[in-house]
Symmetry: C2
Amino acid sequence: MTSAEYSPLARKLLAFVALSEVELAVLKRLHQRRRSFVAGRDMVHQGQSAQAAYVLSSGWVCSYKLQADGSRQIVDFQVPGDFLGLRSVLLRTSDHSFEPIVDIEAVEVLTADLLDAFAQTPRLATAVLWAASRDEAMVVEHLVGVGRRDADARMAHFLLELGSRLALVGVGSRNGFNCPLTQYHLADTLGLSAVHVNRVLRQLREHGLLTFRDGRVTFHDYGGLVDLADFDPAYLDQTGPLLK
Amino acid sequence: MTSAEYSPLARKLLAFVALSEVELAVLKRLHQRRRSFVAGRDMVHQGQSAQAAYVLSSGWVCSYKLQADGSRQIVDFQVPGDFLGLRSVLLRTSDHSFEPIVDIEAVEVLTADLLDAFAQTPRLATAVLWAASRDEAMVVEHLVGVGRRDADARMAHFLLELGSRLALVGVGSRNGFNCPLTQYHLADTLGLSAVHVNRVLRQLREHGLLTFRDGRVTFHDYGGLVDLADFDPAYLDQTGPLLK
DNA sequence: CGCTTATTTGATACCAGTCAAGTTCCGTGG
DNA sequence: CCACGGAACTTGACTGGTATCAAATAAGCG
């Protein structure tokens, strides 16, 4: 089997743990049901108990939490191959909502099937734990940004991280990437107001660092951005299977 | 075997997954080596690759990230029974540093032993995944606070969460809890300056909500704090084993 | 073409940071 | 026993980064 034939999830997990034919087969049985969701309409609502998780096949999703006062905080974004709602399933309560940024395709994974698969193939559980750890590392980096970086550095760091993640799955490079997000998404991600996001983007543009325009992010001065944001992609990169 | 005889880690995992005698025995073999660390001196340094994780037996630890400009962001706190450095082990790079707040006792868990144990007893891997998910849920809640709550609500939410966590392990109640943190710890946790932390604490005190003084947090108006912080402890609570 | 959504810009207000100085508390050594 | 030094805490005055309010301009879309 060549790499191209694997599902997005298999490709992701293979970066962490070398899986046998048997384990890959178990993995394959996990997700049979394909589902589509349209942009802008929530997939799962906060507080709702989830019986299924998803693996994103195509499109972008963000997960966020709403506050009593109506403001929202976007926690992270999922791109193809990412898990979606794994924590909701494990903790038996959806503590997030999920919004598809564009129309998406996802495969459903039932809780019971997932737990069965873990019992059958321990290495699979380890692989998922690994993937979850990487996701947590991104949330941690996000927290640091919101807590301790000013608006410019926060924006630069976020867009650099997103660029790196997309480059890892083959979409985008050091020159930039296509990006369906609105400035409101950026605001809710970075803990800023939409108005200020606009000003920050203007500043970055006027300083010759990057442009965010017409659904595309273009990096004009990658090194300058890395300096500004103190960006270190170590936590994203996985050079090869950790467990042979 | 009665509950009191379990190790802190076993007690924690039993809240998520019912473990057999065999699994508990595997768990017990995992941590044989006890280690102590003195307050204020880092256990693991950022960037250093870790070969071992720890389970905290007694004391408090915080994990944090340092920025190039010298500021730091505390990501979370560990109290007895919590994992420490699990992500560092899994991702083979320590992306945090750990500071013992007071003198602590911890048991060392070697990476290789942990992975072996997962292979032998899949349910153990599932249990650890569960525990890691709860930890991530706390980081997410922390992110929301820093991104979208003003300083007062942020402080109130943090102290309420800490109180609830401590109550779960039997230390502290709705009246308050003993707290070895300095106002600098609070500042680095909440993304505020130490000066402003002091002002916020004064306000909360003057409004009759809580006092932070002489190593003790006292809640004067629990309901008022819950309102101010929009606090919902659902993500902390685990009513019983999810996997029988 | 008129509606809505996204973006842009200016003016003003306020939350929280910074700087500076002072207090309390405690441990240590003379 | 007291003097000293350091760490944590406290308070005031001022500054500055972002939010908020308001309005104008573009860009899709039925």
